[in-house]
Symmetry: C2
Subunit: 308 residues, 2 copies
Amino acid sequence: MINKLVEKIKKTGAPIVVGLDPMLNYIPQHIQDQAFAEYGETLEGAAEAIWKFNKEIVDKTYDLIPAVKPQIAMYEQFGVPGLEAFKKTVDYCKSKDLVVIGDIKRGDIGSTSAAYAVGHLGKAKVGGKEYVPFDEDFVTVNPYLGSDGVKPFVEVCKEEKKGLFILVKTSNPSSGEFQDRLIDGRPLYELVGEKVAEWGADCMGNEYSYIGAVVGATYPEMGRELRKIMPKSYILVPGYGAQGGRGKDLVHFFNEDGLGAIVNSSRGIIAAYKQEAYAKFGEENFSDASRAAVEDMIADISGALGGK
Amino acid sequence: MINKLVEKIKKTGAPIVVGLDPMLNYIPQHIQDQAFAEYGETLEGAAEAIWKFNKEIVDKTYDLIPAVKPQIAMYEQFGVPGLEAFKKTVDYCKSKDLVVIGDIKRGDIGSTSAAYAVGHLGKAKVGGKEYVPFDEDFVTVNPYLGSDGVKPFVEVCKEEKKGLFILVKTSNPSSGEFQDRLIDGRPLYELVGEKVAEWGADCMGNEYSYIGAVVGATYPEMGRELRKIMPKSYILVPGYGAQGGRGKDLVHFFNEDGLGAIVNSSRGIIAAYKQEAYAKFGEENFSDASRAAVEDMIADISGALGGK
């Protein structure tokens, strides 16, 4: 799957991923109204609004982008119906040949991580049959429990030709509280980065490992160091746009080949119609605003990468 | 909710929690057969088997115990039907007046943690209405992202009178890989423990804070130190039984009042019928084996606490 991701990035010229993180207040009123007319103001109604919103954005952007990243929390907050919308979104994006990164940030002791890996990347055995419960291509994983919490995910990735992005340095303001603390003179996130390189070493695709890392756009200097520590790991970079990152800050997340990183924007794309720059499209045409925002993001990052 | 937990622990004399972590291979054949006869060998069939299994164990043990801890991964591995069984289990346990600790180990950047908090502890707003999506009483939270990943959970707990157990030192063999690393001469888990005490300071119930911690039974000496660092935090202690912890190892997780900790056993209770000690019950009577295992666990821990 890392090979497919790299190929699609080369083909689209777009090292970006659209974060499908639909808050209800991002969803235009007419879509909410339609969904509530059919299902009432219920969890099912909310889930339907999310699904319709996602579908329209995917339909308007899938030819420009290699990948999407649905954030499962935004679905899980609406309970079981929300998780049905998550599954529908994953399946629909795959039908459009997009690489799907499930932003699930799971991680637990070994047997429990194994269950998460089955649920999101693998196959569940029931009697003599097998099913793919959620079926993302990549998922994000939290490393706080150490190797034996991560390895069950790695094992399933090997079997299924899928991949991981492991949290190394997150984009949020307080990520430094534990991640930046010095251990033998070096920040914790560097030690986690070294582990990512180690876990990924025998998980190589053609050019890159399918065990990648998450490093926030909001910490470009740390991105530069981590790029060196994990030369073969793809870096998923959240925090572009709404969280403050800009194309010029991101060049050091990439390798000299212009590859090695994929930058996520969520709100900046899916709720673009709410920004002054895209207000001209109007709420009805929110997905055209999203398409324009994708084009602008690609131009911003390509421009910054310049000679690379 | 921490007051209810403490009250129920005092009333039952059982500082224990039954982990409802149903692997399909723990579930007796007759229950699987019934479920598959109705739903086929499908995800729905697996979910039905899990639900029936849980219900029978809860029916046979609820009068002895204060709380249950369903591990959501074991449900999530069966996709949307599995998560329906999770919800049914939570709701049923609450109808039996059990305190429900959702072992979800979520944690993300602020707005995303807020969505998880809504989904598991709070209320989702849809138009003019409100719903409780999963409705656990407590959840476990991963602290790797720092304060702003934890605080949205704390805020919802304040509103809803619910609570958290934050991962400090986990029970798995490689938990030391990052958690034990020394920062200014002290292990990371102690710094996380200090933060738990800080986050919990303005979240007091009558005797204890509703912001608690997870510390594995497999690391009793660390439990002793962490007990001192977080005197007002309840400690959820996984790793008893199958993972190797025993009652005598656990005394230092408790305060002098004999309170302050609640010990989880999953496999050791729900799959007790597979152990030699309880084989006499037979597979058909698996829930009687579970009841006997609960009684033995209470005796082991009460005995170890002795004078406390």
